[in-house]
């Protein structure tokens, strides 16, 4: 008998199969993830989630019987039954019928399991990308990676390519006829044999051959400098896709708590998405009431403020920051704006001219999300009154034919994900 301790073996032997299963159940998982996002508090958005998977793409059908037809069952009884007694169908606990259904392996239709944190984010953010992301500059040469590029005869000892060196050495030794160890030993044996045999003529010949071989082997080195090769590395410039995302949030008094929650969730998801998928995207947070300020992440998401509404202040701040720090020729510029759509009416012209002159020409994509109150729910969702900002932007989009201006309305927490996914879908559809 042998006892083998397998506890130290690598765990998670089933992980690759789990991954394949998840890929297979992708559609269902995505839906479950979107539901999970709506149910959570803003701060747990990036933890794992339970997912319920029903049959469908992960069904395993097989030929099996239904419970219909005539059957005879022999079962353990309670001891009180007699011939002719009747028991209502179905039996307690489904009896035979239940066990038959699961026999074929097709009975287990729905079950629930938990996605890990990583899996959750993967499915969550998988479908998103920044639209129109272009390679803006190759000037920044620190963005380069070493790459193998053949071999060279000069180099550092650490880069020695041993295999190639030895191959060259072997080829040279064969070509120049350097006697190898076997040949030397054979010559030596021949000398010994000749001595043993007492044949002097043969001994002399053998000794001469051995001496010649020794000279040859001393003359032709085992490894010669001409054999040596080093691995060559080249620094290859990486395309620099530098991008900046401006997050503009209205925190004025007209925004209800519900609207602010919607806006925050939206930016939270957007931020999560950028952080996960793009290493080099800078995010600038700007919030505004009747005046705007660039703030840090913490302030943007946590602190409260209130006041009137002048949207142009935010746009102006954004344009200033952009000009100062993020030149359009180097950066892909993105803007996401969330507001309830109210604006100080005389500000309208300002907004339009800022957008026209200083923003839309430079940005790759401008996503505007209008957070509405519950008044816009249900049947009247599409008949909601056009807000000040919405009509301004609609006019802009129509006049400019601005393909980079997208607008969505957001009224319910459960739609946050849909709206974001819609705005940043891989097949970037821009608002009509």
């Amino acid at each position: 008998m042998v006892i083998v301790d397998r506890r130290a073996n690598p765990q998670g032997k089933s992980l690759p199969n789990r991954q394949r299963f998840l890929d297979r159940a992708r559609e269902q998982i995505k839906k479950a993830v979107a539901d999970a996002v709506a149910d959570r508090r803003v701060s747990d958005l990036d933890s794992g989630a339970g997912v319920k998977v029903t049959a469908g793409s992960t069904e395993e059908p097989s030929f099996r019987h239904t419970g219909e037809g005539d059957h005879d069952y022999v079962l353990p009884g309670p001891g009180t039954l007699n011939r002719g007694d009747e028991i209502e169908k179905p039996l307690g606990g489904e009896g035979e019928g239940g066990s038959r259904a699961s026999k074929g392996g097709g009975g287990e239709d729905a079950f629930e399991f938990v996605l890990t944190h990583e899996e959750f984010l993967k499915y969550f953010l998988d479908e998103l990308q920044l639209p129109h992301l272009l390679r803006t500059s190759t000037a920044q040469m620190d963005l380069s990676r070493p790459r193998r590029a053949g071999v060279t005869i000069h180099g550092q000892p650490s880069a020695l390519d041993v295999r190639r060196t030895m191959r060259n050495s072997l080829a040279r030794r064969i070509a120049l006829g350097r006697p190898d160890r076997g040949a030397m030993e054979a010559l030596q044996t021949e000398v010994d044999d000749a001595i043993d045999a007492g044949d002097e003529g043969r001994e002399a010949a053998a000794r001469e051959a051995l001496a010649l071989a020794l000279r040859r082997s001393a003359r032709i080195p085992f490894v010669d400098p001409v054999d040596v090769r080093y691995a060559r590395h080249e620094r290859q410039p990486q395309p620099a896709t530098e991008a900046v995302m401006f997050c503009l949030m209205d925190v004025s008094g007209s925004m209800t708590e519900h609207m602010k929650d919607l806006a925050k969730r939206f930016f939270m998801l957007l931020h999560l998405f950028l952080k996960r998928k793009y290493e080099r995207v800078e995010v600038v947070f700007i919030r505004h009431t009747d005046n705007a300020a660039e703030v840090d992440e913490e302030t943007f998401f946590r602190s409260r403020e209130t006041g009137g509404t002048v949207v142009s202040s935010a746009l102006r701040t954004m344009a200033e920051v952009q000009q100062a720090r993020f030149p359009a020729e180097r950066f892909n510029i993105y803007v996401a704006q969330a507001s309830d759509g109210d604006n100080y009416t005389p500000d309208r012209e300002q907004v339009a001219s800022l957008m026209r002159g200083r923003i839309l020409p430079f940005v790759r994509y401008f996503a505007y999300v209008e957070t509405g109150g519950s008044r816009a729910v249900g049947r009247h969702a599409d008949r909601v009154m056009e807000t000040e900002l919405w009509s301004t932007y609609t006019a802009l989009a129509a006049a400019e034919g601005a393909r980079n201006l997208a607008m969505r309305r957001l009224t319910e927490v459960r739609d946050v994900w849909t709206v974001l996914a819609d705005l940043f879908a891989k097949t970037n559809r821009v608002a009509a």
């Binding site: 083998v4 299963f21 022999v74 039954l81």
Partner: protein
Amino acid sequence: MDLLFDGAEWDFRTLDAIYRACEEIAVGEFGLQPYPTQIELITSEQMLDAYSSNGLPLIYSHWSFGKHFARDEALYRRGYQGLAYEIVINSSPCIAYIMEENTATLQALVIAHACFGHNHFFRNNYLFRQWTDAEGILDYLAYAKSFVMQCEERYGIAAVERILDAAHALQNQGIHRYPKRKWRLADEEKRARERWEHEEASYNPLMRTLPDTAPAAQPPAAREVEEREAKARLRLPEENLLYFCEKHSPRLRGWERELVRIVRVLAQYFYPQRQTKVANEGCATFCHYEIMTRLHEQGRIPDGALLEFLHSHSSVITQPDLTSRHFSGWNPYALGFAIMRDIQRACLEPDDEDYEWFPAFAGNGDPWGTLRDVWANYRDEGLIRQFLGPKVMRRFRMVQLADRAAEPAYVVEEIHDEPGYRRIASLLADQYEPASLAPLIEVADVDLFGSRKAKLTHESRHGVRLDARAAQKTLRHLQILWGYEVCLQEREAESDRLITEYVPS
């Protein structure tokens, strides 16, 4: 004698001592003949891994194993489902997985149950001897895994999954019920390699450019003869659908045939297990019970351990009755153990009833010899038909319920009394008849020279029908393997009337 252990703690030396003590009893006193054993100690995580692959130590990659893992893991984490104490693999050496969480008593129980009970059964039962190749299975699994991986590299995961999904759907219909020849799994890899090489060597792209010979050009009589001969080669009807596709599908490529074969070989490997649940578990439970009591008699396990053992043992052999909330059909451990105990009793202390029921062995004084013979030569159906005695029927208060489709309620037709015994034993045996475990579906006809449509039949007895939706979906998988149209006719066995025809959906 000295105690093997005291308390719950154990180490490798304890396991070794337990194994030796059990071996002394099982082999020395009881005359069991197990394969050599390899005990593998694993964690609960690894136990879950093993679950998802039917307990096999390694298996090819497929999403369905991931699905089973996700489900088992979720059930386990929520506490709906406990983990088995052990998993044992029919291989030589016999591999028994035991969990590190078990107490010393449980390890002793598991060793007695798996390493001697199941192991003896695997080595001696005729079904396992006939159908499985214990020496070859581990190598075969390794070969199957690497073959699937190679195919995935060469042809892509999706192409491989398409075939495996289809073959999995048909694996219950991928079994030879009557032996043709003994499997030698070690030859499988060689055979596959030869098939592959032959195909590559004989590939000739020019052949593809030849125009098809028009069948109409032949005289009709010659064509008929040819068709008859071709059909005879198919050996219809064929109930092993996977075998049929593997051998005769016009569309499958060599590697695809091999994938189908792998699934078929593994389905066949599990076939004896499905037919011997009661006998196998009965054997193992009886062995662990006898070995543990014997260990206690010898003073090698403390009283506390005996109590702990009896507690686990009695929960293993619980059989709730049909009125109970916990009822979910027969517990093979309970039924098997009761039958084995009854045989033992009839050998040692027979009464008149036993002489009447078991004249062959009642009072022969050799319970172990009798049981070894039972374990070697019977599957569940035969075990119940021949060895289910009136005492066991009374012990479980067995009743026979008639479930007639037309009636609104089940009717009790027989109970555990003198006039009822025979019918109850015979009907319970029918319940374990392999034919009733999976629907019997046959390839009845193939239109070889026309549309190549394959016609399948299912005989419906006593109004038992196929699940229509599942049948349609499964047929779609069959169509993938066959490559041409398929249909399935369900006929009433009693009248040969066509009930319905299923097509893939």
